[in-house]
């Protein structure tokens, strides 16, 4: 890793001796996970625990005429067979709308379908039995009589008068529309030397977490309290939603979230089958476990992307971009997801298109329509890959049109590094970005000119390689502007409590969560550095609404930036409290003291004065020996939320080097580069691996992943053989570099890094494939870039 420190004058509590900040240190949870000692929901066995299996609709749209549960109820091991109507007595339906997304509408959704099913995979009955196998056996004996209804599946015709309206009460299939206009777009196009248009198509795909969605819900009738063990990114959100719809107070619901096997946004939502599991536990007064199998994961985990976006760019001969215009369409399934809604992705597309560039003329329309397919919602890098692919695809087309090098056109249009703070035409406020420093760095890392020479040389031998560049911006550290202002009870602030134990170690309770990205490690690194103790003395506790401070959790690239700052501030208070006590014991002034390597020392020369172990012993066991009037507080809590900027934008650039076999349509990824700027880097290895993991998910979208529906709304590839996730064999080496522009909104200065990789990878690959195919005069703007798509574009088939 290499960094350009843009403000080296900024010294903070993090720049202390022995700081862990900016160092690759092993993650505290590695041994536990690698030795198979992780604690996942599916590992949990509780006394009297039952297993629920959901019978799911085979039809995309159908009336439920009758459900005969009698034979299933007679089967061995079956505890209950529950229909949607019965469960409705225990849990109320919900509507996935937020008030700040003006005009967004959706229909009430039930935990289990009542009267009608709206997508293939929607649950129609719950079978609860003593084992998963017994429940599956019984599910085969629940007879549902359906009357199939015409399905609305194609987003392009969803608004046609001839298309059936999925929810009659809503009047049409339009869930949300946003129109945005800035500058003088028509005039800008009129004054352009060229205007280029293209239609971009993005396949529907999903997150495919290694661990499927899992819940154990347990109702304690004596306490009138529900405990939910769930792999979730947002425990307090789950607590609030479960309580709201079960008629409980938040305090009657405890959510416990231990190890989670991947989330990527899949596990930040409230799913109908999870709600049904909570309700069943309350109804049956016993623990109920639901673990989605792989087929139902494909059919019910949220899907994402699936956009068709018309794009238009105006360009002058000197390379100046004059305007962007887009018209985006996306189909979200039959309901807007709860509670974050399914309008966010399209809204993000409108926000982000053109974002890296200084152009001021921008027109956008986004329409979100209902359809009889699985629900769509926020998945890693929400909207970013669409916006980036459209923007960067258009920029490359413009460059091609005027015969300018793709790097040069970006140099001429990216917002200057000294132009901040500034505001984008869509109204986004940027605090400090580093597009030019990033571009310069990536050009250097990849040796751009050498690759261009190699490309030209190989082309003579019939080998077609291409270079693709994609600049991007990323939304991180969201404030209440994301959900809270729209009425969602989703916290944007996070809290951390730190406590010195009786032997001088630290217990740290944080409201952010860990799903593999390293929240536990970064928290321990911050606490250890700020306090002056070694990391092995810091124990981090996450994921328990009874224990941790209240907070949002880990999503939208917010854990390090928001939860990390709360940890920093809480630890500063604890440190001061410790120094106050130490000063009293040592008859010194707190300012003369410091804590280094678990010992209170003289700040001036580092002479050891008192071990934290000894200080804790005195405080906890011999407080009688302290001077009168001293009441030590060896626990401190602080919360944090960004207030000045709604989002801490980050930026970066990606580059792809690919080879296209023009005989077969296969694309080989040869190498991939990323330079990104997430501000302060707490753990370089964690950041780099976040970037690489994100890139791989973006490459999956570019080449492989797609949920393939037939025109009757049947998902036809709901398994790991036919739904192609990216595998290591096809992945290129991914080089990661950094530019560092810390945010001044926090002392930590960290912005998010979780989604940068996914944001730009597909755009870089698509641009590279088109670059490789330049001699064939064909442009492809559809992903995934399958051999079939490429051979068709090359007119080989």
């Amino acid at each position: 890793m290499s960094s350009i420190r843009t403000n080296p004058e900024r010294l903070s509590v993090l720049d202390r001796p022995n700081s862990y900040i900016g160092k690759t240190v092993p993650r505290p949870n590695l041994d536990r996970l690698l030795q198979g000692r992780g604690s996942y929901v599916s590992d949990l066995e509780l006394p009297r625990m039952a297993h629920v299996v959901f019978l799911r609709s085979p039809h995309a749209h159908a009336k439920i005429v009758n459900i005969d549960v009698a034979p299933a109820k007679q089967m061995s091991g079956v505890i209950a067979v529950v229909t949607g109507e019965e469960l409705a007595a225990v849990i109320t339906p919900w509507v996935g709308v937020l008030s700040h997304l003006k005009g967004l509408k959706s229909a009430p959704q039930s935990a289990i379908a009542v009267g009608r099913v709206c997508w293939q995979g929607e649950a129609v009955a719950a079978i609860v039995a003593t084992s998963r196998a017994a429940a599956e056996d019984a599910a085969e004996h629940v007879a549902v009589q359906y009357e199939e209804l015409e399905a609305a599946t194609d987003m392009r015709t969803a608004l046609d008068p001839a298309t059936p309206i999925i929810h009659a009460s809503l009047g049409d299939n339009l869930a949300f529309e946003r129109i945005h206009e800035a500058g003088a777009v028509d005039q800008a196009f009129a004054e352009s030397d060229a205007v280029v248009e293209a239609d971009f198509v993005f396949g529907r795909h999903t997150g495919v977490t290694l661990e499927p969605r899992s819940v154990v819900a347990s109702w304690n009738a004596a306490e009138a309290r529900l405990t939910i063990h769930q792999g979730t990114q947002a425990p307090h959100m789950v607590q609030n939603i479960a309580a709201l719809h079960l008629g409980l107070r938040d305090s009657q619901v405890r959510v416990v979230c231990k190890d989670v096997g991947g989330s990527f946004g899949i596990k930040v939502h409230i799913y109908a089958d999870e709600m049904a599991t909570y309700a069943l536990a309350k109804m049956l007064r016993r623990p109920v476990k639901f673990v989605a199998d792989r087929v139902e994961s494909f059919n019910t985990d949220i899907h994402a992307r699936d956009h068709r976006c018309k794009g238009k760019i105006g360009i002058k001969r000197d390379g100046t971009i004059t305007a962007f215009e887009i018209d985006d369409l996306t189909g979200i399934g039959p309901y807007s997801m709860y509670p974050r809604t399914s309008a966010i992705e399209a809204n993000q597309v409108v926000n982000l298109v053109g974002g890296p560039y200084s152009n001021k003329n921008y027109r956008a329309r986004a329409r979100v329509v209902f359809q009889n397919k699985n629900v769509m919602c926020q998945y890693r890098a929400v909207g970013h890959p669409i916006a980036c692919s459209v923007t960067e695809g258009l920029v490359d087309l413009a460059a091609l049109e005027i015969g300018m090098d793709p790097v040069e056109i970006r140099r001429r249009n990216l917002i200057a590094d000294d132009a901040y703070p500034c505001t984008s035409p869509s109204g986004l406020r940027f605090e400090q970005l580093s597009h030019h420093a990033s571009l310069t760095k990536i050009v250097e890392m990849m040796d751009y000119q050498a690759l261009r020479s190699e490309q030209a040389r190989l082309r003579k031998d019939g080998i077609f390689r291409g270079i693709g560049i994609a600049s991007f911006i990323e939304v991180t550290n969201p404030s209440a502007a994301f959900y809270g202002v729209g009425g969602a009870r989703i916290s944007s602030q996070d809290g951390v409590a730190v406590r010195l134990d009786a032997q001088g170690s630290v217990i740290c309770l944080t409201s952010i969560t860990e799903q593999g990205q390293g929240s536990e490690s970064l928290t321990a690194q911050i606490v250890g550095s700020v306090l002056g103790v070694s990391m092995d003395r810091v124990r981090v506790v996450l994921g328990d609404t009874d224990m941790t401070p209240y907070g949002g959790g880990t999503w939208a690239s917010r854990g390090a930036g928001i939860g990390g700052e709360a940890a920093l501030q809480a630890t500063k208070v604890l440190r001061q409290n410790i120094l106050d006590v130490a000063a009293a014991i040592l008859q010194a002034s707190p300012a003369e003291l410091d804590i280094v390597n678990n010992v209170v020392v003289s700040a001036s020369d580092g002479t050891p004065r008192i071990d934290l172990n000894e200080l804790a012993r005195i405080v906890y066991f011999r407080p009688d020996t302290l001077p009168p009037g001293i009441q030590p507080e060896l626990m401190a809590t602080r919360h944090f939320v960004p207030r000045e900027y709604p989002f801490a934008f980050t930026n970066g650039v990606q580059a792809a080097w690919v080879e296209v076999d023009t005989d077969t349509g296969f694309v080989k990824l040869l190498r991939h580069w990323v330079v990104e700027d997430c501000g302060t880097i707490i753990n370089p290895q964690l950041v780099d691996e976040q970037i690489r993991g994100g890139v791989v998910q973006g490459l999956g979208a570019a080449l492989f992943e797609k949920c393939i529906y037939d025109d009757r709304g049947q998902l036809t590839n709901a398994n790991m053989a036919d739904y192609l996730v990216p595998m290591s064999g096809e992945m290129p080496d991914i080089d990661v570099g950094h530019v560092v522009s810390p945010t001044r909104e926090s002392e930590l200065g960290a912005k998010g890094a979780g989604e940068a990789g996914t944001a730009g990878a597909a755009a870089a690959v698509t641009n590279a494939v088109n670059d490789a195919l330049t001699p064939f005069e064909t442009i492809i703007t559809e992903i995934p870039l399958t051999p079939q798509v490429i051979l068709t574009a090359l007119k080989k088939i």
Binding site: A133, E136, V295, D663, F666, I708, A721, L724, G729, Q788
Partner: protein, 293 residues
């Protein structure tokens, strides 16, 4: 998902396995490496009442050279084929093909007999059997019989095996020292089922083929031994002849459509494979440049 309940019997000998199959007939399925059967059971796509596990039958395992014949026991695992020096020496095509079968975990469990009995038209080994002129050795109620590979595969997951039969071995002629082979497949990701593949074996005399067998897979409901090979045998291969043979190949193939490819794309890829095969076997890169497709 969990498999439906089933009875399980671990066969103690081939005779015992045949007895069990004779008793249970179509209600039984033979468990070998389990790499196709177990996932299908877990998805409840199949629900056999009885599983006859032949995994303990050492007599079905192993690779033996008997004169001019290579005998491979049905329980020989893909990983064993891959590391066998006898396979490299006597059937190098197989060694090349096995590297394309799925992933190490699957190759460590999956068996040659299981793969052939499963008869997935997109899998590698059935096509290799056609190309190499294998005999499939089957034991059933009427004793042992040998079925030519060309007769053995009848359709998707369909073979000449009756429910009471057990595939015990395959027999292959030991490759001539002067023979050459070519194996290539197009799959979206390494280890996936092929979109189209070719297993070819040839005997060269000077710049001509004395013999040429082209076993295509994933181009129809069963592996296909392309008759177009005849056009390329015993003559000097020119670009024009190759184009003619490619057209003949397109005509004789009847590929299916699936999520990966249309029939037209499969025909196209089959032609590309033929061109690359000719260029490789004849060491004639000129045949590939500006190819026939």
């Amino acid at each position: 998902m969990k498999a439906s309940a089933f009875a399980y019997a671990r066969a103690t000998s081939v005779a015992n396995a045949l007895e069990l199959l004779a008793v249970h007939g179509e209600k039984a399925r033979v468990l070998s490496g389990g790499q196709s059967l177990i996932p299908a059971m877990n998805l409840r796509l199949v629900a056999p009442e009885v599983i006859v596990d032949i995994g303990g039958l050492a007599e079905l395992r192993g690779i033996v050279i008997e004169g001019e014949t290579l005998v491979i026991g049905a329980l020989t695992r893909h990983a064993d084929l891959l590391k066998s020096s006898d396979i490299v020496k006597c059937a190098p095509l197989l060694a090349a093909a096995v590297a394309h079968i799925a992933h190490p975990a699957i190759r460590n469990r999956g068996t040659i007999g299981g793969s052939l009995a499963q008869a997935d038209p997109a899998s590698e080994l059935p096509a290799c059997m056609l190309t190499l002129g294998a005999s499939i050795v089957v034991r059933g109620p009427g004793g042992e019989r040998r079925i030519a590979a060309e007769e053995f595969f009848r359709g998707i997951y369909e073979t000449q095996l009756a429910p009471q039969d057990l595939l015990v071995a395959v027999e292959l002629p030991v490759a001539d020292s002067g023979s050459a082979h070519f194996f290539q497949e197009f799959a979206r990701r390494h280890g996936d089922y092929a979109i189209t593949g070719l297993a070819a074996q040839a005997v060269l005399e000077g710049d001509r083929f004395a013999a040429l067998r082209l076993g295509y897979f994933a181009v129809g409901d069963r592996p296909v031994l392309a008759e177009a090979a005849g056009k390329l045998t015993g003559v000097t291969v020119t670009p024009a002849l190759l184009a003619e043979a490619s057209d003949a190949l397109s005509d004789e193939l009847d590929p299916h459509e699936d999520q990966q490819a249309t029939p037209a794309m499969r025909r196209h890829l089959a032609r590309i494979l033929l061109t690359r095969c000719m260029a490789s076997l004849l060491k004639r890169p000129d045949l590939q440049i500006g190819g026939v497709a």
